[in-house]
Symmetry: D2
Subunit: 136 residues, 4 copies
C-alpha cells in the first residue's frame, strides 16, 4: 500500500444519520460508498467523470477490495477521505484512507478496478490516459 | 384508495438488519424499497420485467408517493406486501400495503408512476397493454 | 403547504453516483434520505441533534410522507434543500423542497413526524421546546 | 480460506432492482449487505440472533473484509449465499461465497469480526459458545 502522505486527492465526507445501523455506528457497507464517492469526486476533479466514461463505452468495475476497519464512525463525524492511485497492467489500484477530526485513521481500503470497454475487459489505456501524471 | 382485499399480487419480504437505523427500526426510506421491489416482482410475474421495459425504451418513473407509517418494523419481522393497480390517463397508481405476521397493517402507500418513452412523457398505452385485465 | 419562500433552513446536497439506479437517475428512496439528512442538519444547527434526542429517551418517528417528484436528479447534480416546520398537536410537519442549480423545483415533500418518549407516543412538548420560535 | 464445499450454512438471495447502479449491475457495497444478511440469517438459524446479542451487551463489529468480485450481478439474478466460520482468538472469520444459478462463483469474501462487550474488545468466548461445534 502507498504511504498515506502520498495521497493525490482528498475530500470531506459527513456521516449522515441514515447510514448508522442498529448498533449506532456507520454500517460496514457504507464505507464502500464513501470510498466510491471519493473516487468519483477525484475523477470529476480531473475532468473525466463516470458519466463521461459511460459516454465513451467505458465501465470501470471493481475486481477486489480489502478494507481495514479501525475506529467505528458515529453520528456527527466528519471524515477526510484521501486517495492514491497505482496501475498494474489492466488493473487500477486505489489506496484510500478515512481520517477523523482528531487525525486518527478510521479505515483504510485497497480497491482494485478494471475497465470494461463495450462489455469486454480492457487493457486500461483509455482509462489511464487522463491520469497519466499519477501513474508513472 | 382501493380496498386492500382487492389486491392483485402479494409477496413476502423479510426485514434485513442493515435496513434498521440507530433507532432500531427500519429506516423510512426502506419502505420505498419494499414497495418498489413489490412492484417489480409483480411486473415480472406478469411477464414484463423492468429489464424488459428498458429494452423497449420505456422508463417508468415516480411522480408522487404518499406513505402512512403505522407500526415500526423491527429486526426479525417478515411482511406480506400487497398491491393493487389503477390507471388515470398517463398515470398508473399502485395502492400498496405491508402487513405483519399478526395481520396488522404496518404501512400503506399510494404510488403514482408515469412512463417515459425515449425520454418523453408517454400516454402510457405501452405500459398498460400487459396489465389490461387489471385496469378496466 | 407553507410557501417555499418561508423556509427557515437550507443546506446543499450533492448527488452521489451510488444513489443512481439502473435508469441513471437518483432512486426514489434516496429523496427520503435527502429529506431526513436535511431535518437532522437543521436540528443539529439548532443545538438539538438526533443523538441528543435519543439520550433524552426521545425518538422522532415518521407518521406520514407525501413527495412530489418533478425533475429527475442525475449524476453531478447539486441541490439546495430547504425546510419549513409547523406543529399540529403531537405532530410536527416539515415542508421540504429540493431545488436544482437552475433554480427549478426538483421535488417537494410534506413529512409528518411524531415523537415517542420511552416508547410511548408523546404530546411533543419536549421536541417543540427548542424550536418554539418557529412554531407560533 | 476454507474450501467452499465445507460451508455450514446457505440461503437464497434475490437481487432487487434498486440495488443496481447506473451501470446496470449490483453496486459493490450491496455485496457487503448480502454477506451481512447471510451471517445474520445463520446466527438466527443457530438460535442466537443479532437482536439477542445486543440484549446481552454484545456488539459484533467488522475488523476487516476482503472481497473478490468475479461476475457482475444483474437484474433477475438469484444467488445461493454460502458461509463457513473459523476462529482465531478474539477474531471470528467468515468465509462467504455467492453462487449464481449456473453454479458459477460470483463473489467470495473473507470477513473478520470481533466482539465488543459493553464497548470493550472481548475475548470472544460469549460469541463462540453457541457456535462451538463449528469452531474446533
Amino acid at each position: 500500500m502507498t504511504d498515506q502522505r502520498q495521497h493525490i486527492f482528498e475530500c470531506q465526507i459527513e456521516v449522515r444519520d441514515y447510514e448508522l445501523d442498529a448498533e449506532g455506528i456507520v454500517n460496514n457497507a457504507n464505507y464502500l460508498h464513501y470510498f466510491e464517492h471519493t473516487r468519483h469526486c477525484f475523477c470529476k476533479s480531473e475532468g473525466f467523470s463516470f458519466a463521461d466514461m459511460r459516454k465513451q463505452g467505458l465501465d470501470p468495475v471493481l475486481a477486489k477490495i480489502t478494507v481495514n476497519y479501525r475506529i467505528p464512525l458515529v453520528s456527527g463525524d466528519v471524515v477526510t477521505s484521501r486517495l492514491a492511485m497505482r496501475r498494474k497492467g489492466p488493473r487500477f489500484i486505489f489506496d484510500q484512507w478515512l481520517i477523523n477530526e482528531k487525525g486518527e485513521l478510521v479505515a483504510e481500503g485497497e480497491i482494485t478496478v478494471v475497465t470494461l470497454k463495450n462489455g469486454q475487459l480492457s487493457r486500461g489505456d483509455e482509462l489511464a490516459a487522463p491520469f497519466e501524471k499519477y501513474l508513472k
